[in-house]
């Protein structure tokens, strides 16, 4: 496949595939979102539509589970999350194929990341930005996704970072349908795992520690065939880290496993919380020799990709003894 020109007039910030990988959407500082669909015959991406989605850079976007139709959420530096639905009867490339369902306008700072929850959790979307607050929204009626409520608001950072300093925020949901609702949130150099208790409140169930710089990217692996969860992070300190999360019913004293009093969630200490999370650092690699900009798992959670300042994309795979090794290096520079 040849490289294809997206047609964006400014920086591309994010790329998101739909559930089956037959559509890909891109967002840019040119304030536009573009959707491309895969031509089955030629196996090439073809522009389906392009439209102005925000009044500032669009920095993150995500597709909803197909259980809820074809929907895209976009987050922008204009502090808004917009939700879009495809109108199949509108002509392709008309700029009218995607209609705005709703604008979620609670953030007080530029947004950095937006992600739909996995389908089994319902029609939900999470967003985080420079105000350091994680907001989870829920559709009142999934079959009519025009009405949304702010269901959860969690202060991840006590204070928002100073505007003149570099910052980064990202989030990822636990995709497993056999695990309780969890979301990993990166705020600057820390990662918190939030879990929902039986009262429906989110609390910090664990922290992923050891990061020595801004976390650029986080990805929660689909845990197909595994009892435990894997989360990968890409950090400005040059390291790709893979954490293992095991759910246990017992309390233990692992340093990274915290069970703090739920912050800003509930005063009721008798509420039954979810399973205890045990966190282990499974792998830590500095092969990129510089900042790591993205990490992303494949569909089955067996291959992790990472891209970094060495101009390489690395693919990591667990061996028989469960240690992650770089199985392939893809050079993105003309030097090799």
């Amino acid at each position: 496949m040849r490289p294809f020109i997206t047609g964006h007039e400014d920086l591309i910030h994010d790329v998101a595939y739909d559930f089956y990988g037959r559509h890909v959407s891109t967002c840019s500082s040119d304030q536009h979102i573009k959707v491309f669909k895969l031509d089955k015959e030629t196996n090439e991406w073809q522009l389906s539509d392009s439209w102005k989605a925000h009044d500032s850079s669009v920095v993150s976007l995500d597709w909803a589970s197909p259980e809820y139709g074809r929907m895209i959420a976009s987050a922008s530096y204009d502090k808004m999350v917009n939700l879009w639905e495809e109108e199949p009867d509108a002509p392709e490339c008309s700029g009218k194929r995607w209609t705005k369902l709703c604008t979620l306008n609670d953030a007080t700072g530029p947004l950095f990341s937006v992600k739909f929850a996995p389908g089994h959790l319902g029609l939900r979307v999470g967003a985080i930005g420079n105000d350091g607050i994680l907001r989870l929204y829920e559709a009142l009626e999934p079959s009519d996704p025009r009405s949304w409520i702010l269901s959860t608001e969690v202060k991840v950072l006590p204070n928002p970072p100073a505007s003149h300093l570099q910052s980064d925020f990202c989030l990822t949901w636990c995709p497993s349908r056999f695990s309780t609702e969890k979301i990993a949130v990166c705020a600057l150099d820390q990662v918190l795992i939030y879990q929902r208790d039986q009262a429906g409140k989110m609390y910090v169930a664990a922290k992923l520690e050891g990061h020595e710089g801004l976390i650029r990217s986080i990805s929660w692996a689909p845990s197909i065939g595994r009892w435990y969860q894997l989360i990968a992070t890409g950090c400005k300190d040059g390291k790709v880290r893979i954490f293992k999360l095991s759910e246990t019913l017992q309390q233990d004293s692992d340093e990274m496993s915290v069970d703090e009093a739920p912050r800003e969630t509930t005063d009721d200490s008798n509420v039954t919380k979810g399973p205890k999370l045990k966190v282990e650092l499974l792998s830590e690699n500095a092969d990129h020799g510089g900042e790591v900009w993205s990490v992303c798992w494949n569909l089955t959670g067996t291959i992790l990709s990472s891209a970094g300042d060495d101009g390489n994309v690395r693919l990591w795979k667990a061996s028989y003894m469960n240690d992650f090794k770089c199985m392939s290096v893809i050079s993105a520079t003309g030097n090799n």
Binding site: I12, G119, I224, S306, S331
Partner: protein, 516 residues
Amino acid sequence: DNVFLYEVPIKESLEKFKEAGKALKFKVCPIFPLSVAFVTGKGNDYNKLHTPALSSLDHSKIYKIYVNKLFQIYQDLGDDRYFSIPTIGLVSSKSRRQHFETVNLAVDALIDELELCIQQMAENGDFEPVADFEDCATIINCLRAVHCTLDSGEEDSRAAFFANLEHWVNRADGEPDETTINQVLLGNVNMPVYNSYSFWSLLGRLLMRGLFDQAIGVVEKSGLLDHLKGNCETSHSAITELILMVQQYPYESEEQFRAWKATLLQLTQTYADSLTQVDQELRIFILDILSLVSGNRANILRYSKEWFEAFCGMIMFYIPTLELAEEYLDAALSEHPLNVCNVWEQPCVDIIRGKIHFILPTLESLENATAAFVAAFCEAKGLLQSPPQLRHLENSQLFSEADDLFSPRNSMATYLLNTLAMELCCQGDRELWAVSIGLISLSPSDNESAKRLAIAELLPHFPFQTNDDVEWLLSICAEWHLPDVARTIHRILGNSLLYDNNVVEAMSNFSKAGEF
């Protein structure tokens, strides 16, 4: 390293790229080969998405057929997928041999499919993966010869063993090829070819490789017999007798081999004791070849060029038994060290030494699907530890975790089969998806719960297109008791139909999903 097909995403030097604060990112697509890299940076060069050439095989029809065939072979093994020696219930001394015979047939079928796949890829011009597949074929041919032939106890198993041994050695390096033979035969116009060492070396190599027809052909073409007929009746009759003996090589029986070897030893001794009218050098060559075929180890080592040639020669002419295989191997390797540039040589040595688990990483690096099925067949033969055999390690620290599909307690074959299943799901191909679910269902792990959960997580991602696809999906849900997943699928279908303006069908699916 893989490379980007047409152009690389980063155009400038890495230093400039970093100084400008640009960022390289990579996004994995649910259809893995469609994943893209892109650069967050200003300029026309950076409004492109780049797909790397992750594997040229991914979309190859030949490869998909090959993987499907391997799965069918594995599926057809039935209960013979598992290695067990019944000691209670219906105990039959024949059952073990029958089991080996069945698995050996599966290995035969795998090799046939692999060689067909290689041939079709070569015809198709897909030369890049052919080299890796050839290395795989060489390793598996060695495995079949050493571990998957004699133990079936069939009447013709001994003959099959020699055939498989020759097939391995001769396919491994394709030597001596026609060009080499012609070079030797037409080598020096000033000297008869039979006076040169290269001729006798070629003859020895052909004999050690079991290429008897070619060896006889070379002798006939060389004019040796005509020369000897007029000059030395003793040497002529010795060579004529040797040709006759070689034509009668006793493939079938050990007893016949003893008699055959005794005759050859007698022939060699007689020739050594006789006066001849040929040059001393030619007499030595003739004597060397006679003693080589009589099983003289020194001459076998001297006339061979590669360790596997010497190994094959010793098996053919010294004592044809695998009980001495390691001894033969050590002798062969002491004379001809391994060529580490050939990927297949070390695994073949490991196979002969019985260290089957050592070959799996190499096979996996060459071709995943082949590695997984070979591991499964080896486990079925008891050549690798199976899950029940690993249970005794249960209390060790290594296996302290609960089993999942990738737990080391589930055996290497289970790990490789499940890993393959996960990989096939990422190709976006419906046929490979069916193989994938089948592999998880049939993998030797007895943890049905882990299999069920894995299938439940995977199924909604199936890229359905037709009604048959949907029926297949729902039948899997029914088989594995996954009502929630079935509801999810109905919801996805409902929405998909709604987009196609098929409202009635959409409502029907929403209804089945419990929406109304």
